[in-house]
Amino acid sequence: MRFGVVIFPGTWSDMDFHHVISQVLHQPVEYVWHRDTDVDRFDCLVLPGGFSYGDYLRAGAVAGRSPIVGALPGFVARGGLVLGSCNGFQILCEAGLLPGTLLRNDCLQFRCQWTHVTVEQTESPFTRGLRRGQVLKMPIAHGEGRFHADPALLRQLRERDQVVFRYATEAGEVTVGANPNGSAWNIAGVCNEDGTVVGLMPHPERAAEATVGSTDGLLLFHSLLGSLVENGSVLGR
């Protein structure tokens, strides 16, 4: 599976994803500059964390209108997969590729800490190898991660199975105390209707080696690669 890791000027998790994909998963991976629009050589594009353009206006706002993001709808339509983590998630929401909006944390502070999330749907290529209700341990590091959607949209997301992860306790209970940023319905990650674009605030790449505290983040990639093995290709192309 060929991965592309997108770099905006202020991205900083790019090298971390690159490290995990190349050194831990041993998959081919390349960096993709934000001005590039020719992305058809990839199966999966990763939009990593960072402060893409300083994120002064709204997190992800400027990057959401960049050339590479403009190329994403076509890429997805042709069967490409997209994973956005942290700032990547914010960018995908700003670009309208994922539903909802990410607002300033309700505590008004940046939060860097370990969180647990429950897996809410297992239809996406990124979650196909997981169990519904499975608890994953991954850290967050953001100041604007409060997922917001109006009641109608929230209902729709639940009906269409687009909620992928929710903040929970280690035991998998979705509680107010387990919600680190005030996200609606404890939502930590969502997907598009096809499940081919997934965004989440936690950092799977920071939970990919036992020595740094967890390997649960790898499960997303194993799902992806597992899907690949089963079908010969995730993309069917």
Binding site: W12, S13, H19, F51, F110, R111, C112, R206, T211
Partner: protein
């Protein structure tokens, strides 16, 4: 003689208002053989300021040992560099931003982070970690709260946005810092040994390339400001506040590292204090060259800037590169990609002069060495303060022993200086880069070096109370404690950096404190064989005559050959044996206990035996490297009882312990007394014998104190149980102590307004 334009006429009075004494002004005239022009006066005032010239400290800093087998770069560059094997080196340094952080805590701290990051990446290194060492007034002071909130938010803002993890540091509170907070930031970067860059303008004919943000009127006089005490008029200097832009800094980092790979970059220096003036004189001075630059070409943010302003602006996120002649375009292309200005502003010359032109006319022309090497150096008068003996004379009979030592322990755990700083460091991204093996919350942070089996441990330390009562000891203790923290994590100390925070050097008792501190640091460095590779001096930390405690902050870097041998401070399993390396006895002089419980600063701090210290550290390290320690925790502020309690409650799994101490002297001395050369460790029962053997080889006493287990910390002294507190109570005090203290209402008064009256 350069033209004077429409700028003010230079007089001795004008020079004095720039902070130059009459003698210094005469020296300027002697060195250049005429009256300086206004821009030239600015150059001398900035470069001869305490901040840039180290004129009061230089004669003392020479006494620090700076060489060692791993040292690739000692003091004198933007950062020190040590070899860590496998072709890698670590660049690291600490810097203060105390004065700007008092004037505007958020931006002051943010730009402090920005400055030290640049010092690291100018060396060719990619920053991998930040540590922040902070001091504030007591938390019930609204100004302290305002400053703390602003400083922490500023550090978080800059470090998080830039993408360098903040993995450690310290925060302490004492009344002496109420109007002089300390903000010291250490940065660590990783550089391939063959990819080190230096701040030199070599090669006559090469091009000075200005890169990064545009120049505005920010921070003009910043260097002279850091060289003055605060007084009623400091508020008027406020328009000089600089605003940090971490996003531009991140672009600058990536662009610089990419530009280095072209092979066309000869030298580089950031524009920090004294801006362009500093880079344009220091870079040629190091290389024995000169500079001829055209100030019109400097990218400007505001119209109508004068030569003086352009030379002295402290706008952030700028660098000066020296690029091989003819290869400018290669480098410029890189900066274009990152959407940054990169403009040739002049050439390296052979004549040793800094020559600045505006519209062809020379506005400044002075020998670079006059600005740098020829700067004045003073051996200022020193005198042991007459109040010292009074403060050291503490009659313990006037200090009542605690009736309920358990309650006292809980109180100490909740004291802002001791309590957990989680609420602070969870605002910092401490994981980006995925190198953080031991995050904040243990004695030292540990970061892996990817691609090698190694890791680096790093910690900062410095106790102003010891410095106040015995500055030599304060300096030595800061070194041995920082080193002990690194050792407890499994790191072998290889180098250190220091930030010396003091009041006005023009007061003999302060200068005495400074000199003593430097001697203490030097002695400890020699004893532990840890070279000094760099540092920073911050003088004039006093407001309206009130001086801070003499506060040396020491950052020690250690190496773990095997990252898997890293050790943390918390107990791991019930049944493990709790041991003390070193002797239990501690002293109350200068202790946190005296301060928190009795509101006193006094006495004689415990003696430091450097041979014993070296042996304890060596023994601990040998035990860790042999794999026979489960935990190791430096025994410091709060003494043995606090150390034990921290080992119980700071881990992912809280564990109780039952320990027994020999009956000896006062209870408070035994439980809360402070002393160096002590480490509380835990060991699996079957390893105890091996541990004892290893430690004996170093002639270090090992005391078996008890074992881990149960749901309370119980301390027996002789036959009596003197402390028995449920783990939940200890954890609550430690975890929530700082937050609760900060939440307590104070007189309804905002920090900002009361600050204005400072």
């Amino acid at each position: 003689m350069p033209g004077t334009g429409s700028e003010p006429k230079v007089t001795p009075d004008l020079a004095a208002s720039h902070g130059l004494t009459h003698e210094e002004y005469d020296r300027v005239i002697r060195l250049i053989g005429r009256d300086p022009t206004y821009p030239e006066l600015g150059l001398f005032a900035a470069l001869w300021s305490e901040h840039c010239s180290y004129k009061s400290s230089r004669v003392h800093l020479r006494r620090l040992p700076t060489t060692g087998p791993r040292v690739l770069q000692g003091p004198g560059e933007n950062a020190g560099i040590v070899d860590v094997g496998d072709g890698f080196a670590l660049a690291f340094k600490i810097e203060s931003h105390n004065h700007p952080s008092f004037i505007e805590p958020f931006q002051g701290a943010a730009t402090g982070v920005g400055g030290i990051l640049r010092d690291i990446f100018t060396m060719g290194a990619r920053p991998i970690a930040l540590l922040d060492s902070l001091r504030f007034g007591p938390v019930d002071d609204p100004v302290a709260r305002f400053l703390l909130g602003g400083v922490v938010a500023g550090i978080a803002h800059y470090g998080n946005c830039f993408g360098c993890p903040t993995v450690g540091g310290e925060v302490a509170f004492a009344p002496e810092y109420a109007r002089n907070p300390l903000v010291n930031v250490l940065c660590l970067g990783l550089v391939p040994k063959d990819g080190i860059f230096r701040a030199r303008a070599d090669g006559v004919g090469n091009t000075f390339l200005y890169v990064g943000a545009k120049t505005g009127r920010d921070g003009i006089h910043g260097a002279t400001m850091a060289s003055e005490a605060f007084n009623e008029t400091s508020a008027e200097r406020r328009p000089t506040v600089q605003v940090g832009d971490p996003f531009t800094e991140k672009l600058l980092l990536e662009a610089c590292l990419e530009a280095f790979r072209t092979g066309a970059v000869v030298g580089i220096q950031d524009m920090g204090a004294a801006g362009l003036a500093c880079s344009l004189s220091e870079m040629p001075a190091r290389a024995g060259t000169g500079a001829d630059v055209d100030l019109d070409r400097v990218p400007q943010r505001e119209p109508g800037m004068t030569p003086y302003e352009i030379l002295l602006s402290e706008s952030q996120e700028r660098m000066l590169l020296v690029v091989e002649r003819g290869r400018e375009a290669e480098v410029q292309r890189v900066f274009q990609k990152w959407e940054l200005d990169a403009v040739p502003i002049g050439r390296v010359t052979a004549d040793g002069l800094l020559r600045a032109r505006v519209r062809g006319e020379v506005v400044a022309e002075v020998p670079v060495r006059a600005l740098t090497d020829e700067a004045p150096a003073y051996d200022r008068p020193r005198a042991r303060p007459d109040w010292l003996d009074g403060e050291r004379a503490l009659d313990l009979r006037s200090v009542p022993e605690p009736a309920d030592p358990g309650a006292t322990l809980v109180r100490l755990l909740a004291a802002p200086t001791i309590a957990s700083k989680r609420n602070i460091w969870r605002q910092y991204d401490h994981m980006v880069g995925i190198n953080t093996l031991v995050p904040p919350g243990s004695d030292a942070a540990v970061l892996r070096i990817k691609g090698t089996p190694r890791a680096v441990a790093v910690a900062t330390d410095g106790n102003g109370r010891y410095g106040q009562l015995d500055p030599f000891l304060g300096g030595a203790m800061a070194v041995v404690e920082a080193a002990r923290n690194v050792v407890c994590a499994g790191g072998r100390p290889i180098a250190m950096t220091n930030c010396l925070n003091f009041a006005s050097p023009e007061r003999p008792e302060i200068m005495w404190q400074f000199a003593e501190t430097v001697d203490g640091i030097a002695a400890a460095c020699r004893a532990l064989a840890i070279p000094v590779t760099g540092g920073n001096v911050s003088f004039y930390n006093e407001t309206l005559g009130r001086a801070i405690l003499p506060t040396p902050v020491i950052g020690v870097v250690g190496l773990l050959e095997d990252a898997d041998r890293r050790t943390t401070q918390w107990f791991k399993a019930a049944g493990d044996v709790v041991v003390l390396l070193g002797e239990p006895a501690g002293g109350l002089g200068g202790s946190e206990y005296l301060h928190t419980v009795h509101g006193r600063l006094g006495g004689v701090p415990a003696r430091l035996d450097l041979d014993r210290e070296r042996a304890v550290q060596a023994a601990c390290l040998a035990a860790i490297e042999a794999g026979c320690l489960r935990s190791a925790h430096d025994c410091a502020e709060g003494g043995l009882a606090v150390t034990l309690a921290e080992s119980c409650v700071t881990g992912p799994q809280r564990l109780g312990a039952l320990v027994a101490l020999p009956e000896e002297g006062r209870v408070d001395e035994l439980l809360f007394g402070e002393a160096p050369s002590r480490i509380v460790a835990s060991v699996a029962p079957e390893e105890l014998e091996r541990l004892t053997q290893i430690v004996r080889e170093w002639a270090v006493p090992v005391h078996v104190l008890g074992h881990v287990g149960g749901d309370r910390l119980e301390v027996r002294i002789g036959a009596a149980t003197r402390v028995s507190v449920p783990i939940g109570g200890l954890a609550d005090a430690f975890e929530n102590g700082l937050t609760r203290a900060l939440d307590q209402p104070v007189e309804a008064l905002s920090g900002r307004e009361s600050e204005g009256s400072a």
